[in-house]
Structure formats: structure tokens, C-alpha cells
Symmetry: C2
Subunit: 171 residues, 2 copies
């Protein structure tokens, strides 16, 4: 039976962990619902501004790296400049993002959140932090540590892939 189709996870010490395909399937599904919940609150806030998730992503990464360039943002987000530009234009026009011509290299534009943009960022990230805290609180501190470890690994795997995509021509 496929029911006993198990994965042997040889971890870093601490013995073994066996997961059936069914357990992995439930993990996959949990990712789907968790992510949907994770974006639900910001989506509602953004609606009041007529913005979407693309705006949220731009705001998030500009906040994380104030003064980042457009090219930088492009490679992090992995979209085309036309897509990003459409979003950035509305954010600049609405006074949430400031685009300063570079001093060293005047071709570059350095992106900053205005006070208004920073306020929206705080509202968005606060909603997500609250959601995350709720889950953490319900799961307990020990589970949280494990969660963060696995999530970091998943992120690393993705960053590695993303990086390689940018280097070779396969894109």
C-alpha cells in the first residue's frame, strides 16, 4: 500500500523521523492554508488603498533595505522591471515611496519609504506579526524554535535556487 510509503529522515543526530506520504501531503496542505491566512490581513488593509500584494512586497523590501536600488529590488522579487515599475510608480505618485537619484551613480534610483509609507508598512507587518504570534503562542516555545529552523532551511533552499537562476542562463 502507498499508505506505508515512508520517508526516512536522517536528521542531524537525535535519531530518525518517519513521515508517510500522507503526513507530507498534510504538510503541503497546511502550507497552502497557512500562507493564505498569512496574507489575508494585509490583503484587507491593502484593499482600502486600492493596492495588492505586489505593493505589499515592494513596501516590505524597501523598508527592510532603505535606499535599495530598483535593480536590487528586481532581483529579490524576481519580477520584470515593467511589473515592478507599474507598482513603484503608484507608490511614488501616492507619496508612500521616495525615489532619489543616486549620488555616486546617477543612473540608479534609491528607494525610501516616506513617513506615510512607513506607517502603512507598520500596519501591514503588525497584522502579520500578530497572526504569527497567535500561532506561536498556541504552539508553544519549543515548537516555535523548530518551526523557525525548518522555515530557514526552506528559505535557504529557495535563495540558493534563486541565486543560481540569476547566474546561469537557464532563468
Amino acid at each position: 500500500m502507498a499508505d506505508r510509503n515512508v520517508a526516512n529522515l536522517m536528521g542531524r543526530g537525535e535519531g530518525l523521523l518517519f513521515l508517510t506520504d500522507e503526513q507530507l501531503r498534510r504538510g503541503i496542505e497546511a502550507m497552502f492554508f497557512a500562507y493564505r491566512g498569512f496574507t489575508a490581513d494585509p490583503d484587507r488593509i491593502l484593499q482600502d488603498y486600492g493596492y495588492g500584494r505586489a505593493h505589499h512586497r515592494a513596501i516590505h523590501f524597501i523598508n527592510r533595505s532603505q535606499g535599495t536600488t530598483v535593480n536590487n529590488l528586481l532581483s529579490i522579487l524576481g519580477v520584470t522591471k515593467q511589473s515592478l515599475n507599474r507598482v513603484l510608480r503608484t507608490l511614488v505618485d501616492d507619496g508612500l515611496v521616495e525615489s532619489r537619484v543616486g549620488t555616486r551613480d546617477k543612473r540608479e534610483r534609491h528607494l525610501f519609504l516616506t513617513p506615510k509609507g512607513a506607517a502603512l508598512e507598520r500596519a501591514l507587518s503588525e497584522a502579520q506579526r500578530n497572526r504569527m504570534r497567535d500561532a506561536y503562542r498556541a504552539a508553544g516555545p519549543e515548537a516555535v524554535a523548530g518551526f523557525r529552523t525548518v522555515l530557514e532551511q526552506m528559505m535557504n533552499l529557495e535563495m540558493r535556487r534563486h541565486y543560481l537562476d540569476g547566474v546561469d542562463g537557464t532563468k
Copy 2:
């Protein structure tokens, strides 16, 4: 400083866990990248069929609950029937999904994966299981247990919200 803005997580026993806003921000970001990586492999497979994530979701949930009705699927996915129908039509036309008229209630359509549909489902979920196993293996069994606990909590929070949305009129 906002740097020392900490969240006190009173867990189920086992003491306390303090997380700064910065740590929570990194968690939020990790979710973004992890989910992107999580959908990257299926996205590539789907491209060969001219399908998108919407098709993947339909296939996944039909596989999970063979014989489910259209209405059922609608409430799980949380999209409009017009959106879902567009996707289902192509899947039925392409012979991946079979739509059988209900026996007890002939208004209902029960959805099944054909062998061809089941094959695609296996390819998609295998890609995701592999990705998940890679992260699990790198993180170790103890972390995996915690990861699954927190993810379950995040899913539960979302399911609860989703359910309430359907019950009261707020939508």
C-alpha cells in the same frame, strides 16, 4: 529603541520565549521565500501543460477528496464559481478530471481524477514532497516536529477565520 520591542510568548509550559520584532520580521520574510520555493517546482511542471496554480489547487483537492462536489471545492478554495469553473472546464476537456452527475442529488457534480489527472497530481506532489523532505533533512527531526505543530496552528487559525467568514455575512 524598537530593537528591544519584544513579544512575550507564554507557551504551553516549558517557560518563555522572547522574540524581537526584527526576529518576527525575518519569520515573515522566510514565509514569503519558503512559499515561493514551495510553489516553484510545481509551477515549472504546470507550465508544460499550459496550466497555472489554480489548476494545481483544483487537482490537489480533488485528489484529496475524490468525488467531492463543485460547491465543496468552492468553499475550500474560497474563489468564485466562475473562476473555478474556468479551471475545471479545461481540466475536464483535457481529460484530467471526470465530472459525474450525482446519484442521490442529480444537481450535484462529483469530481474525480482520471488516471491522467492522477499522474499529474503525483508529479506535482512528489516535487513538493521532495522539497519538503530536503528542508526537513537539513533541519533535523526535532525541528520538524515543531515546524509541523506551528504550521498546524497557523492552518487552524485560517480555517477558523475562513469558516466564520462563510457563516456570518461579513464575507
